[in-house]
Symmetry: C2
Subunit: 213 residues, 2 copies
């Protein structure tokens, strides 16, 4: 089973690394970390990850995962990446995204009529891309799995692991990464957050996603 992570400059590290921690444990899975060019990928938090393969060497995937970015509009300047996403999606059993990665799927044209989610702050950017914006931490529609913001990728990957390798396996991975979350505050979604904090954050993020109007 080939699980392909798309990496790109200024992506959000945790969007990819959360699911990677889960999916890399799947028995018999080969993980490909793929970017326009192999080598260093500087994420939007300054951490550098290494992509092992250039896009040109990967022509199919069982699972494709597209992470998001604080400013996913950067991918608008790389139509060859969007073209590659469109091509790989035709071969997948599961096409998945985390956070604003779904806007990249949408920009690639593969969310037409598909129920999907994204980071809450840019939720209204889904509709112009043809998707059916759907609230939820993980949204499944056919073979498309989209996760909400950043940390939701962990929930999505565990759900996918259950589909790919069975519930006991997914539960063992969840226990292995001790995913029994207990945040000190219960403010991780827009409904639960302080409105002032939420609107300041929304304005800051939306400003970076003008292109996706």
């Amino acid at each position: 089973m080939d699980i392909v992570f798309l990496f790109y400059d200024r992506m959000t590290a945790l969007d990819a690394v959360g699911p990677h921690e889960v999916l890399s444990r799947l028995p018999g899975a080969t993980i490909h970390r793929v970017a326009k060019q192999a080598g260093s990928i500087r994420t939007d938090s300054g951490l550098t990850l290494i992509a092992n393969s250039p896009l040109s060497t990967i022509s199919r995937a069982d699972v494709l995962l597209v992470p998001g970015a604080g400013n996913a509009t950067t991918l608008r300047d790389h139509p060859e990446i969007l073209e590659w996403v469109r091509k790989i999606d035709k071969t997948t059993t599961w096409t998945t995204s985390v956070c604003t990665g779904s806007l990249i799927l949408g920009a690639a044209g593969i969310l037409s009529g598909v129920r999907a989610t994204t980071h809450w702050a840019v939720f209204d950017r889904l509709k112009p891309l043809g998707a059916i914006p759907t609230h939820g931490r993980v949204i499944e529609d056919g073979k498309i799995l989209t996760a909400a913001g950043v940390s939701a990728g962990i929930d999505m990957a565990l759900q996918l692991a259950a589909k790919l390798a069975g519930v006991p396996f997914a539960q063992a991975v969840q226990l292995g990464i001790e995913y029994d979350p207990a945040p000190m505050f219960d403010v991780g979604s827009p409904e639960k957050a302080d409105p002032a904090i939420r609107e300041a954050l929304r304005a800051r993020m939306l400003a970076k996603f003008e292109d996706f109007k």
Copy 2:
């Protein structure tokens, strides 16, 4: 404010990347990703991260974070890393660990009489290192913050962010990474997990931590 992440070969990527996603957003923070040598660090899931600075260039930290590894005994072969941890700890405001990173703090000799936690499967490895094993997702004792397994680093980092930059800031980061966890199964701790899954996993992990007996 200097926040120093220790990187080392075969570390667990998510142990570091979860907190990195949180702490890198702190205003005025400089993040250092430090390893024995600068350059490629292959994590235990196959993902390669880049360390920017060698240990020799970092002599102090406001915050030190030590991630764990599926097999943290690898650090037993690198006494100079343990020596560096011991030296940096003397300069910190907060010394922190995720998962089996606390066993590294213990091996460095800085958990004597300190209440601490670690990954549930190797919990009994804390006592021989002088620590007071304490159950909890995040344990604070003086300036030492230890988190439970892998994903607990996110909870720890948000708690630390509240201390360093205030509660509203920490809440904004939590909302920014949409940390409103909703795992499909509620099996992420040993108490909640299926006993057969738990004991199989415990045996497998313990076998890798013989040195810490």
